[in-house]
């Protein structure tokens, strides 16, 4: 009885703390009140619940879990940014691995489109992870806040194109044979595609990989615009190929985090399980909820999470 009362109090206290943090008070600067031994489970449980919600919202809004997870958890939970980034990469990796086999089987993801880009991005993601773990946490937090606010701007402004116009493919994409045909079941026809601007895209993937490793964000938020708007790949092919690309880029970065002891089971596992279960529910809700509104909610959520990360980094 006494235990259950104490557990109820812990939950109430956590709810109050979460509410306070959402309105901007830095209540987690002193989390000693929660370091009382018997309450250790409150934060992992809260992490599981938040990860579950991120999984649901992420699927509905068409963004990976990592980009929501890192700014939200690093801003509102007492865990060090190193462990949050490690968990963020694992979440993004698990989501991509779950989707990739099916996407490759249906030919919606294309190996020739993915492999050269992934090779470049996986090298830069290792450098991003190494540099991120060597930098002071508050500097990474400030950069994370700025990056998230830029992602919000990018998400708000970018207009995806179902079938971008590619007048002629460039010589590099011809040499790499990055072209093909896939069957689109929605319109029930085969779609022929090719790409252009391969060199600028390769340079952009150097930056994407670096940011993915540095912030543990995954890279879906940037992969799709570059594949679709810069290279000119059809949207469905871009979305599917992005998942496969993400699994390669995040694998290289996550190993750096694992090897440097920046992955804690108590943080990473509830997050991965929460996001995966949330994604399953999200897929079911996809048919009945207007994803347009969810995207707006995600943009607002990311804006506040980015702002919070920036202010936390600046110790305001």
């Amino acid at each position: 009885m006494k235990n259950s009362v104490s557990q109820s109090l812990s939950i109430s206290r956590l709810s109050v703390l979460l509410c306070l943090s959402l309105i901007g008070n830095d209540v987690f600067a002193d989390n000693n009140s929660l370091s009382v031994d018997n309450n250790w489970w409150v934060w992992p449980l809260a992490l599981f619940v938040v990860s579950f919600l991120i999984g649901v919202v992420g699927v509905l809004g068409g963004v990976g879990g990592g980009v929501l997870f890192v700014p939200i958890v690093s801003g509102f939970f007492p865990f060090h940014l190193d462990f949050v980034r490690g968990a963020g990469l694992l979440i993004a990796l698990a989501g991509a691995l779950a989707a990739s086999p099916k996407l490759l089987k249906t030919s919606l993801a294309d190996l020739r489109l993915v492999m050269p880009m992934a090779f470049i991005a996986s090298i830069s993601s290792i450098f991003g992870a190494l540099i991120g773990l060597a930098m002071p946490a508050n500097i990474v937090q400030i950069c994370l806040g700025i990056a998230i606010l830029l992602i919000v701007y990018l998400m708000y402004k970018s207009k995806e194109s179902e079938f971008p116009r590619v007048p002629a493919s460039d010589s590099l994409s011809n040499s790499l044979r990055i072209y093909g045909i896939y069957h689109d079941p929605a319109i029930n026809r085969d779609v022929s595609w090719r790409v252009h601007r391969t060199i600028p895209a390769l340079f952009l993937f150097i930056g994407i990989g670096f940011l993915a490793g540095l912030f543990g964000l995954g890279a879906g938020w940037a992969n799709v615009p570059v594949l679709n708007l810069v290279l000119g790949a059809p949207l469905k092919l871009s979305v599917a190929s992005s998942k496969f690309l993400l699994s390669i880029v995040d694998t290289s970065a996550v190993w750096v985090y694992i090897n440097q002891g920046a992955v804690l089971a108590i943080i990473a596992v509830p997050s991965v399980i929460g996001v995966m279960l949330g994604s399953l529910i999200g897929v079911k809700l996809l048919a009945i909820i207007q994803s347009k509104y969810i995207r707006i909610i995600i943009i607002v959520l990311l804006f506040f999470a980015g702002l919070r990360a920036l202010l936390k980094g600046l110790e305001i």
Binding site: G86, S122, V256, Q260, A265, I267, V269, P270
Partner: protein, 117 residues
């Protein structure tokens, strides 16, 4: 993928409820450490880095790394699976890219690459 996910669920359940063995760090003490940087955390708690966790794999917290590393090795296994197919099709350009990618991923997984705060 499924194997990794199932391993994660079982090992984490075991970790939380302490069915088989004791963890390296008692769960009740974690709140004191999780706000430290990875480098400080490892120093203060004497936690292993790199593949040294294998020496502690019998402890319930490090059992979780069986699932975590399984998930993280899947991409390498996928590349190893397509390398013979690319070789059979004489697709030497992509065979080269695939081999180089495996080298990069193995290098990342090896723990040779290091940085410090």
């Amino acid at each position: 993928m499924r194997v990794g996910f199932v391993l994660l669920i079982f090992s984490f359940t075991n970790y939380i409820f302490g069915f088989t063995s004791e963890p390296h760090i008692q769960l009740e003490h974690f709140a004191k450490y999780w706000s430290l940087s990875a480098e400080e955390f490892n120093k203060v708690t004497g936690s292993p880095t790199g593949w040294d966790w294998l020496m502690h794999a019998s402890k319930s917290d490090y059992m979780n790394f069986l699932g975590i590393t399984t998930l993280s090795l899947i991409t390498v296994l996928c590349y190893l699976r397509i390398i013979p197919i690319l070789a059979k099709n004489s697709d030497y350009l992509y065979l080269g890219i695939a081999i180089l990618e495996v080298v990069i991923l193995v290098l990342a997984a090896s723990g040779i690459l290091n940085s410090g705060h």
